[in-house]
Amino acid sequence: METTVKSPSKPEVLLELNGVKKYFPIKGGILKRVQGNVKAVESVSLKLYKGESLGVVGESGCGKSTLGRTILGLEELTDGKIKFNNEEIQDLKRKEKKKFVKEMQMIFQDPYASLNPRQRVGHALDEVFKMHTNLSAQERKNAVVDLLKEVGLKAEHYDRYPHEFSGGQRQRIGIARAIALNPQFIICDEAVSALDVSVQAQVLKLLKALQKKYNLSYLFISHDLGVIRYFCDRVLVMYLGHTVEMSDVSRIFNNPLHPYTRALLSAIPRPNMNAKRERIRLVGDMPNPSNPPSGCVFHTRCPMAQEVCKVDRPEFIEHEEGHFAACHFAGVKL
């Protein structure tokens, strides 16, 4: 294995992204010619280890959901390489891809929209087995009932329609569908954002329990730093399609290197009124991803931007062991 082993607890790389790009062409004019690209994901390189949860945070529109969909192949990759279990999967044909489909699953944001409203829950889960296994009808039914129980639902829920469930229960069905084929890797795209806080905690607990039981790896996309802090081992911060900073949770939260990360952290509401804290306010909106700023993409809003930032794009490099950041002044305090 050519990967650098970080620590004994995270020995094996499960997923490796190398310069992954996703551009959405902007077509216009009578001839529908490509007039430009929305650069949703720009040169993302990272490694995800077996059994870990990597959180992905960023403002809406920063490309975090697109990143997840691109990894799963739901969006066509513009450029770059995706390795899963040391096999490149980006150019696989549909049939060859089928075995990876079993290994990579997704839990969606909106539990109300991610289940077919005209399909009984049991049948929805049954369909997964129908597509990927050769089990008999009775075996499939047993497997579905086991799954329902696994995620904290009951066997009698088999014949119900999605609209008969609460949001949290629906998300459990979404989870059941994702774990049905015993995957190694699950992308949680804002999986708990649509839920009440109390239900959020229950679903997160379930996800953690499943991770322990099956040694799952999660790519946990969220905009909620509190949830990320509770749930993830490492965090990736994205801004305008670029990776900005990546490290383990404690270092991201206690010693952020990038000014954008600091600004994000300072926006978390704190219960302690008297705590001394500096609020870093970002001015302006996120730039248009079809026409990103020159140099460092963050320089238009960065409180510590210098001339060099307008010209030179900082590399996403390792500043301390396992702590990556893309900033010319990484770690420099304002």
Binding site: R69, P117, M131, E164
Partner: protein, 295 residues
């Protein structure tokens, strides 16, 4: 962790989709009227030999042009002495059968075209231009053209009307597919590695069924009316077939001496078209696409 969020799962919510739809439909009085007329007509068509007293095409010249409420012929007889009631009842059979075949064929063509156009963006332009082409012909003219090519018969009438139904149906289906395709559950199925065919048939079609059902019901009215129009023009049912449009056409010559020969089949056509239209309207309201998301 195995706690289930408690939720007020009312028994009321456990009823089937079709029951909810019917319950909503029955709140609409006009739709009930439509449904009753349609059901009566179906019964009439099915049990035609039992509820008629005469052979619809048997001529009894001695009894010709009897007025309404004559003994033995409560709707009178036509110029050949054929029982008008019997002809109306057997005419219901023809209208329903031709109408259903026309709508079914139109639906098959329209659903397939609309589905492909909505799902595959690359086929969209080609299919929809073809549909526009069909649209550019006035309906009855297109039907006449097709009959001119295929020859006059009821089967050809059904084919002609079905071809004329395809473009409207394709547009309706394409529109629904375009919106359903973007739903997260379709994305979820794709992430599960489901084939396009499976997604289209198992996931998009059931969710696009409401507008298709409404279209089919409304289209029945149009199809029955068109069958009658074409037969009236001599392009559909040929004598002595007891078809309503053909009956009006034949009765026309006796407008003054025996007005019931045109009025009775006219009322039959009108009632049928009215019934299917109000039923379609009622279904449109009952099959609210969002009903399963509400409580």
């Amino acid at each position: 962790m195995t706690t289930v969020e408690t939720v007020g799962l009312k028994e009321k919510k456990r009823e089937k989709y079709i029951v909810t739809t019917l319950r909503r439909l029955f709140k609409n009085k006009l739709a009930i009227v439509g449904l009753v007329i349609v059901l009566l007509q179906i019964l009439m068509a099915v049990f035609a030999p039992m509820i008629t007293t005469h052979d619809p095409i048997k001529q009894t010249l001695a009894d010709s042009e009897l007025p309404m409420f004559s003994p033995g012929h409560w709707l009178g007889t036509d110029n050949y002495g054929r029982d008008v009631w019997s002809r109306i009842v057997y005419g219901a059979r023809i209208s329903l059968v031709v109408g259903s075949i026309a709508v079914a064929l139109g639906l098959i063509g329209g659903v397939i075209l609309g589905m492909l156009a909505g799902y595959y963006r690359k086929l969209d332009a080609i299919i929809m231009r073809f549909v526009d082409l069909l649209f550019s012909f006035p309906g009855i003219l297109l039907a006449m053209l097709i009959i001119a090519i295929l020859g006059t018969s009821l089967v050809n009438v059904a084919i002609a009307i079905s071809i004329w139904s395809i473009p409207t149906c394709a547009r309706i289906v394409r529109g629904s597919v375009l919106s359903i395709k973007e739903k997260e559950y379709i994305m979820a199925m794709r992430s599960m590695g489901a084939s396009d065919l499976r997604i289209m048939v198992r996931h998009i079609l059931p969710n696009a069924s409401a507008p298709i059902i409404v279209f089919a019901t409304m289209r029945m009215a149009t199809a029955i009316l068109s069958t009658a129009s074409l037969s009236y023009l001599g392009l559909g049912a040929q004598p002595p077939t007891p078809e309503w449009g053909a009956m009006i056409s034949q009765g026309q010559a006796f407008m003054w001496s025996s007005p019931h020969l045109t009025i009775v089949p006219g009322i039959a056509i009108m009632l049928t078209v009215f019934a299917f239209n109000v039923l379609g309207d009622g279904l449109r309201d009952a099959l609210d696409p969002n009903m399963d998301l509400q409580d």
